[in-house]
Amino acid sequence: MSKRVDPKFNPALTSYNDLSQKDKELVEDAIRTGYSRRSVLKLLAATGVTLATAQNLLSTGGSAMAATPKKGGSLIMSSNLHGPDDQLDPALFTSTIDYTRGRATYNSLTQLGNDLAPQPELATEFLPNDDASEWTFKIRQGVKFHDGSTLTADDVVYSMRRHQGEASKSVIKSIMATVKEWKKTGEYEVKAILESPNADLPVLLGLFQSKIIKVDSDGGGNGTGPFKMDSFEPGVKSVHSRNADYWREGANLDAIEITAITDPVARVNALLSGDVQLATQIDPKAIRQVESTDGVSLSSIPAGLYMGICALKNASPGENDDFVKGLQYIQDRERIVSKILKGHGTVGNDQPIMSAHGADFCSELPQREYDPDKAKFHFKKAGISSAELYAAPVVAGVVDACLLAQANCAKIGFDLQVKRVPTDGYWGAVWMKEPLNTVTWNMRPTANSQLAIQFAPGAAWNDTFWNNDRMGELLKTSLSELDPAKRHAMYCEMQTLVHENSGMVIPAHVNILDGINDKVKGMPTVPLGQLGGCEWPEFAWLDA
């Protein structure tokens, strides 16, 4: 956890530290928004950080972004997966390569910093009413789409409404269901009327899919973003060139190419030989190779992505609380992090929130340790002596962790059979069906969404079928709680509930591992995805 990057480092503003007149205006703009937000959002825990970030920027010396970005140059980024299903429609984005293209091509209303606090992007201000049941967004003026047309509230309302309604195929449809209605209240003002209060709405608007596209389009590469799209071949590559008419300073690089090399060995080789400058998802086996090669570095960012075992609470053996306790105590967490993840992970505490989630993380909750005696006790109390666990390599190290648990179970006389299955078709055929199965969840931008997606009673992806009324109540009330201390207490109670009562075993969180050529500087470290939450296109620069 000590490796966590400076929470005040803010990628949204890094390129403005040399404070030209234009830059000054932008920084002042950011500060202004910070203050105006503070007046209303003093309730929000994150505000202090946001303000500090902005002030940090004004005192030019003290910030983390010491080096001045250089302009020019181009680079090639290789993701790990692509195919004919590559998208330009933000609502359908599902992969790193889509997210990165989206980040280069489009903008969102808000932008998430490294500390996950929302910063102004296309919205210059975002203000809630008294109980956060309505949010008003002031839209930035003079922003141009790549086709030359001007951004207005119509584009924003259209883009946001695409996530709503029966027919919507949006990936974040369920998340955006928090908004009842998007209303245009002026040429450059939009209002969101919520189903129920949600203080986290500005964070959700910084998600990969919440991009603003031209009204009556499906994206198609016409955005307001820092790069214009020159070419796009699904499953091959896309080429982007710097948008000279960008509404702020904009990209440092002249051009970027985004492709994928699906073979992990080939991807690392391409990084080592300098054929690509950014490579996502370095295979744990290749860590040493990357670290020992001059000119490239491994980027390892602690994040909420985790490996887990779901014990279904509506089936045997997971319905037995003692069985789940036994399975939790048999996890040798330290060893999983140090040996299986080679140190590139964080010990898990059987609940999905961790330090990267910021203030909502309950560090007071005692860490569950490896304790074979307690495991033996609980297995015995449960009266269960064997179980079958379906393990698919859904995330780095999870199958090895299952095999380690199997070996440790054998030592205490418990027969844990690990049935290895491929990831192909896993989510439809095994997950949420077999009583014991492996799972992974990407990090969500807020603790609330991370908990709600899996642990809200009756949620579509409640993958342990654990329905707890108190949990449901807290998930709702915490969203309108504006007092930081009370809010934290609520989040602590929720994390304790999951830790104690659900069927979820979370031995470890997995760091985001990427390979970066040493010439590439200015990489953000937003923990929501590969390569700094895919935020790099606007901020990366080449130190030739």
Binding site: I76, S78, H82, G83, P84, D85, D86, Q87, T94, A167, K169, V171, K173, S174, S231, E233, P234, G235, V236, V239, E257, T259, A260, I261, T262, D263, V265, A266, N269, A270, L272, S273, G274, D275, V276, T293, D424, G425, W427, G428, A429, W431, A460, W461
Partner: protein
């Protein structure tokens, strides 16, 4: 007579293609999971699944979909990719071009080399030249191509930085850059396909060399060189052409490992991507193209054998 034979072969070819189309369709229809499930992955809900399935027309029985598909296929319409919504013909066109380009270069290099080396080895069997060729080809046949490819990348790209590690085509490179980008996949494939063709050329000719008429020629005092080039080669051409045809077909359909290791955007890799996303129309189209390639190349090889060997023109 000749025409009738060729026509028969063509009809058999079409029949083979039809059987394959049924097999491919059934095979891809009973794969576990479905496109909607794979597209949505972990984030699938019953509602989104139903919506996507209906949109993809997957609620109809498979035989109805088969005849729809076959009808479209015969009229040249390969359908729309279920995953990306792009037309499959447009997806395939570029990839097929890339694959053919790579296969063409490899064929142009490997066929002359193989036939020449095979002939040389057959002309002087038992000499040091023959031994070297035999030893080298046997070794290379035994080494899998991913090993050759990975080894070359490690040496030539990662250690020496002479060649790029991936065959990444940006579309506007000069001839020299293109040659550099393609060098390693081409060398790998040339090694893989040549070894087999050399062995078969040598074996085919030596086989003919045992026949009575060659013995007669030897007894007449014809020089060995002349015997091979004049008498043996034409009788051995049937098997040689068949091996060449098989290797060419392999270059179109079987190079997936090489395409993956060098991230070369060819057709085989497109098919793998299609399998991963359960993009059935795409997988089916690729499978049919690969099968058609085999059928056409074998057909050509058969016709070449018939032309080179009058005995084959008479049905027994």
């Amino acid at each position: 007579m000749m025409m009738k034979m060729v026509l028969r072969r063509i009809l058999i070819g079409i029949g083979t293609l039809w059987v394959v189309s049924v097999l491919v369709f059934i095979g891809t229809s009973i794969l576990p999971g479905d496109v909607a499930q794979i597209i949505l992955g972990q984030s699938a809900t019953p509602e989104t699944l139903a919506a996507l399935r209906a949109e993809l027309g997957m609620d109809r029985p498979w035989f109805v979909r088969y005849f729809d598909w076959l009808g479209n296929l015969v009229t040249g319409d390969l359908g729309t990719s279920k995953a990306g919504g792009a037309s499959i013909s447009s997806l395939i066109a570029g990839r097929l071009g890339n694959t053919m380009f790579l296969a063409g270069i490899v064929a142009a290099i490997s066929i002359p080399i193989s036939v020449a080396l095979g002939l040389l080895a057959a002309m002087y069997p038992g000499t040091w030249l023959d031994r070297i060729v035999t030893f080298a080809t046997l070794s290379l046949i035994s080494v899998p191509e991913f090993f050759i490819a990975t080894f070359m990348v490690l040496i030539l790209a990662v250690q020496l930085h002479w060649l790029p590690a991936i065959a990444y085509l940006s579309g506007n490179e000069s001839g020299w850059q293109l040659a550099r980008a393609l060098a390693m996949p081409v060398i790998t494939l040339v090694i893989v396909v040549s070894a087999q063709m050399i062995r078969m050329t040598r074996a085919g000719i030596l086989n003919v060399m045992n026949s009575p008429y060659i013995e007669m020629a030897i007894l007449k005092g014809v020089p060995r060189r002349r015997i091979i080039l004049r008498h043996a080669l034409f009788n051995a051409i049937g098997p040689i052409v068949n091996v060449i045809a098989l290797n060419l077909a392999y270059l179109v359909s079987g190079v997936v490992i090489v395409e993956t290791i060098f991230a070369y955007p060819g057709l085989a890799k497109l098919m793998i991507d299609g399998v991963q996303t359960r993009d059935l129309p795409l997988v089916q189209a690729c499978a049919i193209i690969f099968c058609a390639t085999y059928v056409v190349l074998i057909l050509i090889a058969d016709i070449a054998s018939i032309l080179s060997n009058p005995r084959l023109r008479q049905p027994k």
